[in-house]
Symmetry: C2
Subunit: 412 residues, 2 copies
C-alpha cells in the first residue's frame, strides 16, 4: 500500500477454488485497481465454513463483503446483515439468488447499496451486465443459454468418441470438469438456477428455481447422437427463457438438438454461451469459459471494481505502450510458377535464408505451369516480406506472389 492512498477493505467469505483465485487475482491486480479507482484494495479478512470466524467483527473491518462461501445459509444471513450495515456486496452464489433473489434485491434497493452477481452465471461471460445495462432499454424476446460447462463437456465428449454418458462423465471427472457428485450438473438443476436469474433480468419477472422445469442428460444414448448426426443435428443442454404471448414467460432447461447454423451449435467443451434475441437487434451471442476459479474470480473482480466506484464512461487518462508495426505472423503464400524441376527447391532456399520455415505445401501442375501454395510458421513480418520480394525475382515466377496472414487458435 502506498502511503498516499486510502485502503479499501474487502471482507471475503469462503476460500474454496474461487475464493483462493479471487485472493490471488486481487493481489496481482491491486496496482491497476488503485489506478482506476484511486483506492487501494486490501483483504481485511477471510471467513470460511470450516475455520469459522466472527462475521460481525469482519464486517466492522470491511468496506465491502465478497461472498464466495456458497449455499443458502449462512450466505443469505451474512449478505443481509452486510447490506443492513450499508455495505456493498458482491456474490457468485447462483443457488442463493435463485431461491432468495427478491429478498436480497429488495433490501439492496431499500438500503441504496450495490449487490453485484456477474460470477453467479456463466463465469466470465458478461451476461448479467449486458442484460442489466447494455440491453436495459431493449425488448427481449428470448434467451437461449449453454450455462453448464460440465454437461456441455460431457455431450461434446459423447459426440466425439461415440461413448456412453457414463464414460464421458468419468472422463469429465478425471479432467476436473465434473465434481465427485455431479448430480446438480447432470440433472440440469445447476443450469435451472442460472436460468432463473437470467429470466429475472431479461423479463423483470421473479423466477424461483422451483418454477424452472428442468431435464438432464443422464438418459442420452450414443444412438441418439449417431442418428442425429444423420439429420445434421448436434446436442446441447439448453436453458431457455422466452416470452410466450403478451403475458407469459417460459423458463426451462432441456437437452436439445441444434441445427448447425444456430449460434450455440459451435460451442463445445467446457464453455458457456448465451444468445439474447430481440426483434430490434436480432441477436447477441456471448461465449467463454463457464467455470473455473480464475474465470469466476475475474467476473467477481469486475463487480468489485464497479462497486468500489461507479464505472467511468471514459477511459482513464492514458498510459503509453509504444506502438510497433513489425510483428510475428504465420502466412499463406501463393506462387504461380513454371513447372520446371528445382522451382520448389529455389523457393525453399530463399525462405530458409530468411529464417522462414514451411509448415505445409500444396503443389498442383497445370500444363506448363504449376501453383505452389504454402503455409509458413510464425516469423517476423519484415523477414517474410524480404523473402517474398526475393522470390518474386526468381526466373520461374509467372505472376507476382500473393501472401495472406494465417491465424491459428491460440488456446486449447
Amino acid at each position: 500500500m502506498t502511503a498516499s492512498t486510502c485502503p479499501f477493505r474487502i471482507g471475503l467469505l469462503g476460500h474454496g477454488t474461487v475464493g483462493a483465485a479471487f485472493e490471488a487475482l486481487l493481489a496481482e491486480r491491486a496496482d491497476r485497481i488503485e489506478a482506476i479507482t484511486g483506492l487501494r484494495p486490501v483483504l481485511s479478512g477471510v471467513l470460511t465454513r470450516s475455520s469459522g470466524g466472527d462475521f460481525e467483527e469482519l464486517l466492522a473491518r470491511s468496506d465491502m463483503i465478497v461472498e464466495l462461501i456458497g449455499g443458502l445459509e449462512p450466505a443469505r444471513d451474512y449478505l443481509l446483515r452486510a447490506m443492513r450495515a450499508g455495505r456493498h456486496v458482491v456474490t457468485a452464489n447462483k443457488q442463493l439468488l435463485s431461491h432468495h433473489g427478491e429478498e436480497l434485491w429488495d433490501l439492496a434497493r431499500e438500503q441504496g447499496v450495490q449487490l453485484r452477481f456477474e460470477g453467479a452465471v456463466a463465469g466470465v461471460v458478461p451476461v448479467i451486465r449486458v442484460l442489466s445495462e447494455s440491453l436495459a432499454g431493449a425488448s427481449i424476446d428470448r434467451v437461449h443459454g449453454i450455462v453448464n460447462g460440465t454437461t456441455n463437456f460431457i455431450l461434446s465428449e459423447m459426440e466425439r468418441t461415440g461413448g456412453s454418458f457414463a464414460q464421458a462423465l468419468a472422463e469429465a471427472q478425471r479432467l476436473g470438469y465434473a465434481e465427485a457428485d455431479p448430480t446438480d450438473d447432470v440433472t440440469g438443476r445447476d443450469a435451472a438456477a442460472k436460468m432463473a436469474i437470467i429470466a429475472r433480468l431479461a423479463f423483470e419477472t421473479p423466477v424461483h428455481i422451483d418454477q424452472v422445469r428442468y431435464e438432464g442428460i443422464e438418459q442420452i444414448q450414443p444412438d441418439d447422437l449417431e442418428y442425429a448426426r444423420d439429420l445434421g443435428l448436434g446436442l446441447k443442454l439448453i436453458g431457455t427463457a422466452e416470452r410466450v404471448g403478451p403475458e407469459s414467460l417460459s423458463v426451462r432447461v432441456y437437452p436439445a438438438f441444434l441445427y448447425p447454423g444456430h449460434p450455440l451449435a459451435s460451442v463445445s467443451g467446457p464453455f458457456n454461451a448465451v444468445t439474447v434475441e430481440s426483434e430490434a437487434i436480432t441477436e447477441i451471442t456471448m461465449s467463454g469459459p463457464g467455470a473455473g476459479g480464475p474465470q469466476t474470480a475475474s467476473a467477481v473482480l469486475g463487480d468489485v471494481i464497479s462497486a468500489m466506484i461507479p464505472p467511468a464512461s471514459v477511459p482513464p487518462a492514458a498510459e503509453s505502450l509504444s506502438i510497433v508495426t513489425d510483428v510475428d505472423s504465420s502466412f499463406y503464400l501463393y506462387l504461380s510458377v513454371d513447372d520446371v524441376p528445382g522451382v520448389l527447391a529455389s523457393v525453399a532456399t530463399v525462405l530458409g535464408r530468411h529464417d522462414v520455415s514451411v509448415k505445409s505445401v500444396v503443389q498442383k501442375g497445370l500444363g506448363g505451369r504449376a501453383r505452389l501454395v504454402m503455409v509458413v510458421h510464425r516469423v517476423l513480418e519484415s523477414r517474410f516480406y524480404a523473402a517474398m520480394a526475393e522470390i518474386a525475382q526468381l526466373d520461374a515466377m509467372r505472376d507476382p506472389p500473393r501472401a495472406i496472414r494465417v491465424i491459428e487458435e491460440e488456446f486449447n
Copy 2:
C-alpha cells in the same frame, strides 16, 4: 408524458439511418425507460447537416446530446461545446473518436460528464462496455475482431459462390450491406478506426487511426479461397490489437485465414464479433449484427439510459409475467420397433390424431427389428407427449420411445 414525471430532454444531431432508427426506438421504449430511470425521455430537437439549425439553441433546451451526424466537423465542435456546458453526450462516431478521442475524453473527465460510445464499434455487440467495465481489472493480452460487416459479408459470399471480389461487392451493394462508395469498408480503414478505439480501451494507450496499419480485401482472388479450403482455412478481415513484449502494442487490420477451431471462424455474413484474450480468463467472444440502423440505435439507447442514471446493480422491482410450462417445441423421436409392414403407418396415424406433423424420417432395418428416427414440427409439448404415450402402447414397439427437443435457427 405523464404529468407526474420529469421530462429528460435529448437533443439529437443527425437524422440518417441511425438517427431515424434512434428516434423511433426512443419513442417506442419511452415507457420502459421511464420505469427504469424515473425520467421521461423526450426529443427536444433534431439538428441535421442539411436542414442546419441553431446548435446553441438546441443545447439550451437539452439535458443530453446524442451525436449521430458522423464525420469530424461539426461533430467534434458540437460535442466539445455540449460537454463544456455540462451535458452528458452519447455518440456513435468512430471516425471522430479514432482521430480526436483523447481531446474528447480529457474534456469529459475534466467536466465530470459522461461520454458514451458503444454504437461506434461493432453495432450492438457490447464490446465497449465489456472492455471498460466487466474487464476493468483484467490484464488483456490480445483482442481479435471482425468489426466490419460489409467485408465479412463479401468474403462469406466469395467463399459460398466461388465468385470474384467485384461480384460479391455488387451483391453486397444490392442487398444494402455495402454503400455506393465502399472504399472505407473494403480498404480496411473503417475497421482500423474501430480497432484504434478498442486498443485504447484494452491497453490504455492512445491510438490514432493513422497509427493503425491496415490492408483491405480488394486483392483477394477466388483462387486463394479455393486453395485455402484444401488447407482447412477460412478467410476473414481481422483487426488485431495485441501486447508485444512488456512495452509495446501492435494494432492492425488485415485479411487472414483462420483455422476452423478459432472462435471467429464461424462468424459469417454481415455479423461482427470480438474475442478478448487474457491469461486469467482464456477468452470471451461476443458476436451480433455489426451495423444497421436499429442495431446501432439500440446500442446508443443503452448508452443514453446509462447516462441518464447510473446503472443499478440490482434489477428493478418486479413486474410479473405469468410462468407457463406448456410451450411449442420441435422434437426428435426415436422408436425401436418390430420390422413389420404398417408400423410407420400406425405411428403416423397416432401423431396425426394429435396434430403432430412429421418433418423428416430415417428408417433403418436391423434383422427383425427396425429403428424409426423422426423430427416433428413445432407443436404444443403436451400434445406431443400425449401422442408419444399412445405410441408407447403400440404392439410393434420394442423399447420405450425416446424424445429430445430440436431448436431451429430463429433468425436468418
